[in-house]
């Protein structure tokens, strides 16, 4: 699992752990589910 830092369009920054080593500048779609987990999808 890789640790990545992401910035949302409203300026918020968050650190997430994902199984893929995304490059800098990659756009992701992140969904926060009710139980605290996240689903990450690759957009570009």
């Amino acid at each position: 699992m890789y640790v990545k830092k992401v910035r949302y369009s409203d300026g918020r920054e968050e650190t997430i752990r994902v199984p893929v080593d995304y490059d800098l500048g990659t756009i992701l779609a992140i969904t926060h589910k009710r139980d605290g987990s996240i689903v990450v999808n690759l957009v570009t």
């Binding site: 830092k5 992401v6 992140i30 139980d35």
Partner: protein, 372 residues
């Protein structure tokens, strides 16, 4: 302390992050969605049995559907399992691989009994002698699904078809119920009442609405079987009237004046709709929700002390349950789809959109850029 019980493929699970159950009287396929840590899940097979119970009531019994998703997050991965009740099988099984003909005079209960064969639905409580006979040969084309035919018979003859879940010893069973609405309404779930009392159950919100979509002051019921043409009229007040016309199935032999009076009374009942969101209520479809103990609102505001549940969504998390429901007047005959739709004030398109919207609202994706 009340808690929820989940069984997947025969194995009982303790740690479920979240479960959602959705039931509505209109389309009758109930669905559920379970989210749990994926390391705790054994072998999942499509069609495997699933049951959800709360406070000793079975809220859902069905099967695993073929689409899951697994989500990764910090350290843990969870799996979301969508399920549908056994009506899903009826919607995905054809009546026959060749044209099937039911001969004139066959009891429609007998037809429904044969359609439930091989679906896993228990048929003990299907009434095979409803007394409603088909007036001519009924040919069913190739490819028509069993549920389509059952819904057609139910709507045409004033019957109701639904599944009732129950725990029988170590297993949970889905009983199929099909009968004239007047008989079905005598079943225990139509009488079962859950009472809201200020202190024990938290009412999150509740609203009552007057809707006029089926409003009329005169109703004309027309029955035309090709030979005789009958018209029944029911009204209140004086001219000018707001008229509504209803076509009656020639297979129903009740005197036309009675049919008109019946429809008229039903349409008047659709004007009041109740929606509410409660915590800690384990209630099933068609149960009655008794509001008479909520001192602040009962009396001048609510017309009835109890409402019949026709649409509900349970959200179970840990040991708490939040239920959103729609209730109608207990005397409303919900087999009649026009009356049902008017009482919930949503046509089926809107209801589908409502379900989709709810799923989308729950989890909206946000875009982010990887910066480190």
């Amino acid at each position: 302390m009340r808690s929820a019980k989940f069984t997947i493929s025969g194995v009982e699970y303790e740690l479920i992050s979240n479960a959602t159950i959705r039931r509505t009287a209109l389309d009758m396929i109930s669905s559920a969605s379970l989210t749990l840590p994926s390391r705790d899940v054994g072998v999942l097979s499509v069609g495997g049995p699933v049951s959800i119970e709360y406070a000793d009531k079975v809220l859902f019994h069905g099967m695993i559907l073929p689409d899951w998703n697994v989500a990764f997050s910090s350290g843990a991965s969870t799996i979301t399992i969508p399920c549908a009740d056994l009506t899903y099988r009826l919607a995905h099984m054809v009546v026959g691989a060749s044209v099937v003909t039911y001969t004139i005079g066959t009891d429609i209960g007998e037809i429904v009994y044969s359609l439930l064969d091989g679906t896993g639905i228990d048929r003990h409580y299907i009434n095979r002698n409803t007394g409603l006979l088909i007036p001519g040969n009924l040919d069913v084309k190739i490819g028509v699904m069993r549920l389509t035919l059952i819904n057609y018979l139910a709507a045409e003859y004033g019957c109701l078809f639904y599944l009732q879940y129950a725990r029988v010893g170590a297993t949970v069973v889905s009983y199929g119920r099909f009968d004239k609405y007047t008989a079905v309404v005598l079943e225990p779930e139509f009488d079962e009442t859950v009472q809201i009392v200020d202190s024990s159950i938290l009412t999150l919100n509740m609203s009552i609405k007057q809707s006029q979509s089926l409003y009329c002051s005169r109703l004309l019921a027309i029955r035309d079987d090709g030979e005789t043409h009958e018209v029944g009229i029911a009204s209140h007040g004086t001219a000018p009237f707001f008229d509504r016309v209803v076509q009656v199935n020639p297979g129903i032999s009740t005197p036309i004046a009675e049919v008109a009076a019946d429809y008229f009374a039903q349409y008047q009942l659709t004007s009041e709709q109740m929606t509410g969101m409660f915590q800690g209520v384990a209630i099933n479809m068609f149960n009655l929700l008794d509001l008479s103990q909520i001192s602040e609102v009962f009396g001048p505001i609510f017309a009835y002390s109890a409402y019949r549940v026709t649409d509900l969504t349970h959200n179970i998390s840990g040991s708490s349950i939040v239920t959103t429901l729609v209730g109608v007047s207990p005397a409303l005959e919900i087999w009649n789809t026009d009356v049902y739709k008017a009482s919930t004030n949503l046509d089926s398109e809107m209801q589908i959109i409502q379900v989709i919207d709810k799923k989308i609202d729950d989890e909206k994706p946000e875009y982010a850029e990887v910066i480190a």
